[in-house]
């Protein structure tokens, strides 16, 4: 959830998505969903000579699972907020796990 919210703040900004097959695509972030699937517009492929079939592509949808890295505009990233949110989410995650554990134990006792 943290990264989903984070990406929503970057909509309209330029990012470079590096895929697991080494293809790098730079474009404007159009939208993102909970799986971190990404829609880019006005894209440019970084080594165009190597991927000539990409020249005519202007918009694309990238499945989250094929992403290796995303290069972010450093100026648009508030690291303090991110760190706070990470800690918060870790705490919430733990609560959920403890509840699940308790339920499992209760189920066993029955």
């Amino acid at each position: 959830m943290l990264f989903f919210s984070f990406y929503k703040t970057l909509v309209g900004k330029e990012i470079t998505v590096e895929l697991k097959n080494d293809l790098s695509i730079t474009g404007l972030l159009q939208s993102v969903d909970q799986f971190l699937n990404i829609k880019l517009k006005d894209i440019k492929v970084n080594e165009e000579e190597k991927y000539p079939y990409m020249i005519s592509v202007q918009n694309c949808f990238i499945r989250g699972s094929v992403v290796r890295y995303v290069h972010l505009p450093a100026g648009d990233v508030d690291v303090e907020t991110l760190q706070d949110h990470s800690r918060l989410e870790a705490r919430e995650q733990k609560k959920v796990q403890q509840q699940a554990q308790q339920q499992a134990q209760q189920a066993q006792q029955k």
């Binding site: 990264f3 697991k20 290069h71 690291v79 990470s86 796990q97």
Partner: protein, 97 residues
């Protein structure tokens, strides 16, 4: 229960939480290694790192002899999102505890 959460590692992800705002070492699939300052993570080990140095092993060919050898290639990235599924190992700087 919540009081002791600060400094202790009671589950593996706590080690990552304690590494926030620290430079960590990350070993990735395909012989890639990252060093960078950790700013965000989630339970899948998706992360945001800053001032990243990526080292990767690549097969290079010696221009004189034509022999193949394993070289390393480095690059620097200011701000990087790393998808968790590629992560193998994370090591924080030595903890003083």
């Amino acid at each position: 229960m919540d009081k002791k959460e600060e400094g202790t590692v009671e589950e593996p992800l706590d080690l990552i939480r304690l590494s926030l705002d620290e430079r960590i070492f990350v070993k990735m699939r395909q012989d890639r290694e990252l060093k960078g300052k950790l700013h965000a993570y989630d339970q899948h080990l998706n992360m945001i790192l800053s001032d990243v140095e990526e080292t990767m092993k690549v097969v290079q060919i010696d221009s004189d002899t034509g022999e193949e050898f394993i070289g390393t290639e480095k690059r620097n990235i200011k701000m990087l999102f790393v998808r968790g599924d590629g992560v193998i190992l994370i090591s924080p700087p030595l903890r003083t505890s």
